[in-house]
Symmetry: C2
Subunit: 421 residues, 2 copies
């Protein structure tokens, strides 16, 4: 008999990988928990898409109710997208009160890059040397995990990503200057090759870069250089946004800078495919005049209803405050583990986006990190790895995560480190 | 007091246009009907996204049920995507039994173009000179409605689109040869400029080109040239697919050719943001080895459930047969109108995708066509325009459209033509 794993590999391709050597065959989710088809429960410490908890009843109800009443596109006028967009943009300063709704963070960044082109008349983009911003043809040029066919294009130039353990420039304190120097060189390269600078695009939490510990003002010098070269600033808030980092609603608030464009995705609809670009009115107008753009599914009434429900639940259940409080508690627990496990070289994070970096014998402990993840999966706790060497345990649970959940996470991690380290 | 229209323009931008001079402020949908906020009913003769009818209860139930149980991504194993993919690919011949699920037709075509690159090692693309395939940066290079900033790129070459009233080559019979000649020139240009031929991408119903009347075999000569040049064939089935054309499930079956890649979108989830690329296993493998690709929302359990419900409803309610029968009936009614209205120069279509082209004084009657659409909107029937000169009334209703609906459509169109022609 053909197993579900074989059928899946045949249908979706042999390279459609899963998490974990023994994949989790999921059946049900609720809050911070997932259950597999054998009824086994897992504490989900990794998934940021179910931002307000797996299958939150208010989001489910919003989707079900609106799907039963109307679901069309934005060539008609509907209150849902307008009410949501007004509520969402109210969460931003810096005159960021215009919106394009799309279906994925990738589509959002694809639009953002064109907005920057339209606004500046230039095509060069600066990003970090260890990043991921999505999967469209244009956006995947920014990614560093795999060289695309035909190679990387010269309109993308990279500055060295900040890093707690191996900071560019040699010290954590010197990273802002090192990053600015990298941006300066990228600007020079783009001016030399004729593309010019349209934008600096960064995740303000440097999530895929390994979420290094950075002070407010970290980007100030780099941003000043980009602006002086005529470029604008895109903050990809797909990972830090919607209050996950606890201290603020958005990553750019934590670093204290004013983006021109913000992109949003994964957590926005708690799993419903919805994403958005937030920008200033003049940039939106310039984009619409430069490019013809219409997104059939973007901002449909059901997507708007799902996203509005998420926004309301974040407020009603005080999930930003929860992320701050439980995140700080959990980080303390990891700090305790660090005292007892030499392999934990660094513990860091903000709110419910934190982790522990593993080193051994003066080197990133990639294989060990993977072994810890696998062991924890078998003990019922799901997380994954991150960072340049995949040697950081990345913890990014639904924002309804509790202190009791954090206790379980720490206990299971402790045991896993005991066993495999 | 600020109106919803003003709030919308402020939030979504002044260029976020609506259908109709007086936009429809929608509140509710059911079957083939929409209602506005004043409770006024409209017969929807245009929207293909609600393929099985606005708010079909079985699709709503599928979405609501699955959203309440689980919604994660495909890094875990879930039965839903596998069961759906197997059911969907069973609708295809030509060894098209591998699938990538994404969120929009644009994402699907963006992936399809990269699959062709990975498979052929070339980057040139051939399409028609009057087309639209989506909105990502890469895919929008195919579109002809607006020149993108920086101009069209030379890796896209175009063959003249077939057309009932102004056929390339001078006669309808000669169009296949004329199209093949255009493709031949495009191939020569791509070989000359170094891109080579990765793919011919066409909607097999030439929907955006004005859905000209074409016989099976129309593309055979062009396809043979593309294959001889090393390229592959992408059929964009976003508009004709899922049985809308009545005679077949897919447009490529009607033209009787074997695509290497098929892209699907709008109707697939009846409004839920879901889309897919269907291809042969070796092409999917080649793509996955050439590019790193993962789509967070693509193929999630709720999207798979919505799409599976649509597939089941099409079968259970015999909607392909309905499209064929009601479409033929409606086309006859348009034929009757043609006898009484000189401005109707051509009536054409297949299944529930048909229309009437308006000419006056030997010229495309663009303004008149628009006036008919506006008049019909005020009489409670929604449709829109299509074709190179926007002088074709485009009718593409939900596939639950009945003969009584067709009677109403014809009556209202008759009256509108009386009034404005």
């Amino acid at each position: 008999m053909t197993t579900i794993y074989e059928r899946r590999a045949r249908l979706l391709g042999p390279h459609m990988t899963t998490f974990y050597k023994e994949p989790v065959h999921v059946a049900r989710g609720e809050g911070v928990y997932l259950w597999d088809t054998d009824g086994r429960q897992y504490l989900d410490c990794y998934n940021n898409v179910p931002h307000v908890g797996h299958c939150h009843p208010k989001v489910v109800e919003a989707i079900a109710s609106q799907a039963a009443v109307l679901n069309t596109h934005t060539r008609y006028v509907h209150d849902g997208i307008v009410e949501y967009g007004e509520a969402l943009t109210a969460k931003f300063d810096h005159d960021l009160d215009s919106m394009v709704m799309v279906c994925s963070g990738s589509e959002a960044n694809d639009v953002a890059l064109r907005m920057a082109q339209a606004m500046t008349g230039k095509t060069g983009v600066i990003t970090t040397d260890n990043t991921y911003h999505g999967n469209t043809t244009a956006v995947s040029q920014l990614n560093t995990s795999k060289v695309p066919i035909g190679g990387f294009q010269e309109h993308v130039q990279r500055a060295p990503a900040p890093d707690n353990m191996m900071p560019p420039g040699g010290t954590r304190e010197g990273q802002a200057a090192a990053f600015a120097e990298g941006v300066k060189q990228a600007i020079a390269a783009l001016e030399e090759n004729g593309h010019g600078v349209s934008a600096l695009i960064v995740c303000p939490y440097f999530a895929n870069e390994g979420f290094p510990t950075l002070d407010a003002g970290f980007l100030d010098e780099a941003i000043a250089l980009v602006r002086a070269a005529g470029g604008i600033i895109i903050a990809d808030e797909v990972q830090p946004g919607f209050g996950r980092i606890g201290s603020h609603w958005w990553g750019h608030q934590k670093l204290n800078f004013a983006p021109d464009i913000v992109t949003l995705g994964k957590p926005m609809g708690n799993g419903h495919p919805v994403a958005a670009v937030i920008t200033r009115p003049e940039i939106l107008t310039c984009f619409q005049e430069g490019f013809k753009y219409f997104n059939t599914f973007g901002g449909n009434p059901v997507s708007a209803a799902a996203a509005m429900a998420v926004l309301n639940v974040i407020e009603d259940e005080k999930l930003v405050e929860n992320a701050k409080e439980v995140g700080a508690y959990a980080l303390d627990l990891l700090g305790e583990l660090q005292k007892r496990h030499d392999v934990i070289a660094d513990v860091r994070g903000s709110g419910l986006f934190f982790g522990a970096e593993l080193w051994r014998d003066g080197k990133p402990a990639t294989a060990l990190c993977d072994a810890v993840v696998e062991e924890m999966r078998h003990t019922g706790v799901l997380l994954h790895t991150e960072g340049r060497f995949d040697n950081t345990l990345k913890i990014r649970p639904p924002c309804v995560f509790t202190k009791e959940n954090a206790d379980q996470l720490a206990e299971v991690m402790d045991a896993a480190l005991e066993k495999v380290a």
